[in-house]
């Protein structure tokens, strides 16, 4: 470093300081973007002997580097699987928590040294489309035998691999089974002699009864306004059949104008106009809104959400709130799919990067996670089913919600569906804004349709975005 020969003049120093200050935002915004040039170094782990108990040939003395999203489920279940695997294979498993996956792992992907397994979940998950080419096809994990000796494929619920399959490649194993439903308190409904509405007309009628008790049908929170879009899409698909789902998935022109979806939007618009939705949701934090429904006040009757809601709100649940799920209503009494049809999707996508230092170890870790022992441990401690069948006992470990999820899944049978376009193209943030306006009564069903279509059209017309074809 060179020191200036003459003292820095105060004025010039200040000018420099000002210029530096002006440049700080630029540095802050971009410092994390600097790409390293590192050469890929993965995939060269020493291989152990391949057998039925070690189908991927993981070397006994190797280490497996696992990064788990530290969200609602924590990481202790992943550590449990790690210990199980260490016992079985004599490897070292390092499980690290992360809440900012994309930001933290981006340099490791660029540098060619990603972890061996990632639970790519949460608000800062890495967009799968971005790294699809760098991920292992996990079909061989599904075709392997689990620790108990059964072929893994035979132990899974139907359709659970679909959300992780992209263009025929099983790039992610979504571990946790999420049931999307209308959640309510069975005890509250019993007390008042209410039944859960099966059509939108019955919904209106229940809204009026709720109003008589100074309660609302629904409430919502700003960051979770799109739960109502999920409700609308699920109801629309049940009414109009898979044609509606495929139109949305493939970003078709005018897909939001399908009659089935329009009827649901109109029904929601009437509910909002009738004042059956607790006002002010667009300025309420979502957990605060959920507490309005599930807490002591029980200001709203129903809440559309995924089955994580129990784990998320356990601490704030009113006493004797028998959390139960019901299928979302249909428009008519003769929908294309039966009323019992269900939006259920496997979540918490686990991925194994091809450039990881121990790909065999990564796959073996997934095999361990999918064992009966690890899956039962998850279900018991998190009160959520995994994609592995038969891990929930009759009493649901004391959870009414868990019991009702299994019942919903059984009643739905093969009529389980899901969609991936919102996550795949990262549309949620844009949807949220307009769902808030819609639930607020600022825009009507027609306005909502226009905005949703505009978001879809923008992605369809952007040729720099790779499209996913769904059949």
């Amino acid at each position: 470093m060179n020191f200036p020969k003459k003292p820095v003049e105060r004025r010039n120093f200040l000018k420099g300081a000002l210029a530096t200050a002006a440049l700080i935002p630029l540095g802050g915004a971009l410092a994390s973007c600097a790409a390293g040039g590192g050469a890929p170094n993965g995939g060269n782990a020493p291989e152990g002997e391949v057998s039925d108990t070690n189908p991927f040939g993981v070397a006994a003395d190797s280490t497996v580097d696992v990064v788990i999203f530290n969200g609602g489920y924590g990481i202790d279940y992943a550590e449990f699987a790690g210990e199980l695997m260490a016992e079985n294979q004599g490897v070292t498993v390092n499980v690290a928590p992360s809440t900012n996956l994309a930001q933290e792992l981006q340099p490791r992907f660029v540098g060619g040294n990603p972890p061996d397994v990632i639970d790519n979940s949460g608000a800062n998950a890495i967009g799968i489309a971005t790294i699809l080419a760098q991920l292992e096809d996990l079909t061989d994990v599904i075709d392997a035998q689990n620790i108990e000796g059964e072929t893994i494929r035979d132990t899974l619920f139907p359709g659970v691999l679909q959300p992780g399959t992209f263009d025929g490649k099983l790039a992610a194993i979504n571990y946790v089974l999420t049931v999307y439903a209308l959640w309510y308190s069975q005890s509250l409904f019993d007390e008042n002699g209410w039944t859960v509405p099966t059509t939108w007309d019955e919904m209106m009628a229940l809204g009026e009864q709720a109003k008589a008790q100074d309660k609302y049908l629904f409430c919502w929170g700003q960051e979770a306004a799109s739960y109502y879009l999920e409700l609308a899409i699920a109801s629309g698909i049940k009414e109009g059949g898979h044609e509606v789902r495929l139109a949305l998935e493939n970003l078709e022109a005018d897909c939001w104008s399908k009659p089935a979806l329009q009827e649901v939007f109109t029904a929601l618009e009437e509910i909002i106009a009738a004042g059956y939705v607790l006002p002010g949701g667009s300025g309420t934090q979502f957990t605060a809104a959920q507490a309005q429904w599930i807490g002591e006040g029980q200001e709203a009757l129903l809440y559309p959400s995924g089955s994580w809601i129990e784990n998320e709100m356990r601490d704030q649940m009113a006493e004797n709130f028998q959390l139960t799920g019901a299928p979302v209503p249909t428009v008519s009494s003769s929908p294309a799919l039966p009323y019992e049809a269900l939006h259920s999707a496997a979540g918490e996508p686990f991925i194994v990067p091809s450039q990881g230092a121990n790909v065999a170890g990564g796959k073996e870790y997934m095999r361990t996670m999918l064992s009966k022992e690890a899956a039962t441990n998850f279900t018991e401690s998190k009160l959520s089913p995994t994609i592995v069948r038969g891990t929930v006992p009759e009493d649901g470990f004391g959870s009414t919600a868990l019991v009702s999820q299994v019942e919903l899944l059984e009643a739905a049978g093969e009529n389980v569906f899901t969609w991936s376009f919102i996550d795949f193209y990262g549309m949620n943030q844009d949807h949220l804004v307009w769902m808030n306006s819609f639930l607020d009564g600022e825009i009507d069903a027609a306005g909502l349709t226009t905005e949703l279509q505009a978001i879809t059209d923008a992605i369809r017309n952007d040729d720099s975005i790779e499209k996913l074809e769904v059949q």
């Binding site: 915004a29 971009l30 973007c33 790294i131 700003q222 960051e223 002010g280 667009s282 808030n436 952007d462």
Partner: protein, 283 residues
């Protein structure tokens, strides 16, 4: 300087951020950005912030600084209001609170069942039952601006107090002898004498307004009703990490930097055009 040059290069590529591979695509990213309604909206919001925030913050803090230093009795020694020291300490408090806490706290205060609505409905204004201050297009931006200003007025007040204390008391005495009132003294003596400080404050506050990320993300994480409060850094983060388009995000960063530099340049230019380099005081 190399990160800046790198960023500029990345902004001309289709880099996804997660591979070492990238292709040069020229100014494509920039063209797309200006066709992207959300980005244009966020740019507009930042421009509104950069105009409103510094002006309001500086005017308010100048008034407060004047009051606690030279706004006191018009007889005897030049002094501030009674209990000026107390006011000074109290108004500095908000600056001590981290930005994220300020945002989260005010979000609760302005929530539909929060303090503000509680007070208003307590006064009998029933239209504010469940009114979503941060959820309405009409109020989301003004409320957000109020919160940011609340956080900074005390800090700039202290800055200006220090500057005013550096002005010789004789000048104020002379002004008083000549019959200048408090307002006239403030406009003709105080402001010209601390002009450099005002300019610095203006630039600092402007840079903050061109960011505003923490406050907006804490109060309206989704960008507010109809994107009325979305700012460029929010779009940038989403583009880079959720959508995996680092090239396009870098282009946003470059635009943000250019806007910031233009802003700083404009402030210097306007200041020198309006005679900022002369230091004389006219009474």
């Amino acid at each position: 300087m190399s990160p800046f040059i790198q960023a500029f290069y990345y902004s001309m590529t289709d880099w996804s951020g997660f591979t070492p591979v990238m292709n040069f695509i020229g100014i494509d990213n920039y063209v797309r950005l200006f066709q992207d309604d959300t980005f244009v909206k966020s740019l507009g919001n930042n421009v509104v912030l950069v105009i409103v925030l510094p002006i309001v913050t500086i005017i308010l803090s100048l008034i407060l600084a004047t009051l606690v230093t030279v706004g006191g009795r018009s007889k005897g020694q030049i002094s501030g209001l009674k209990h000026a020291g107390f006011y000074r300490v109290v108004s500095f408090f908000p600056y001590v609170i981290p930005a994220i806490a300020i945002g989260l706290m005010w979000r609760q205060v302005f929530a539909p069942n929060g303090l503000v609505n509680g007070a208003l409905t307590g006064l009998g204004l029933d239209q504010f039952i469940n009114y979503a201050w941060l959820g309405e297009v009409a109020t989301a931006m003004p409320v957000s601006m109020f919160v940011i200003i609340w956080g900074f007025v005390g800090f700039y007040m202290v800055l200006f107090v220090a500057a005013i204390k550096g002005i010789p008391a004789e000048i104020y005495e002379a002004a008083r002898l000549d019959g200048a009132g408090r307002f006239r003294t403030a406009v003709s003596v105080t402001i010209p004498m601390i002009r450099d400080n005002v300019q610095t404050a203006y630039i600092y506050m402007g840079i903050l307004a061109l960011d505003a990320f923490v406050y907006m993300e804490a109060m309206n994480p989704g960008g507010g009703p109809a994107f009325s409060t979305i700012v460029m850094p929010q779009v940038l983060l989403d583009t880079a990490f959720s959508q995996g388009q680092f090239g396009r995000a870098s282009a946003m960063g470059v635009i943000l930097a250019l806007v910031t530099l233009t802003f700083a340049g404009l402030v210097f230019l306007i200041n020198s055009l309006t005679g900022g380099t002369k230091k004389d005081v006219r009474l």
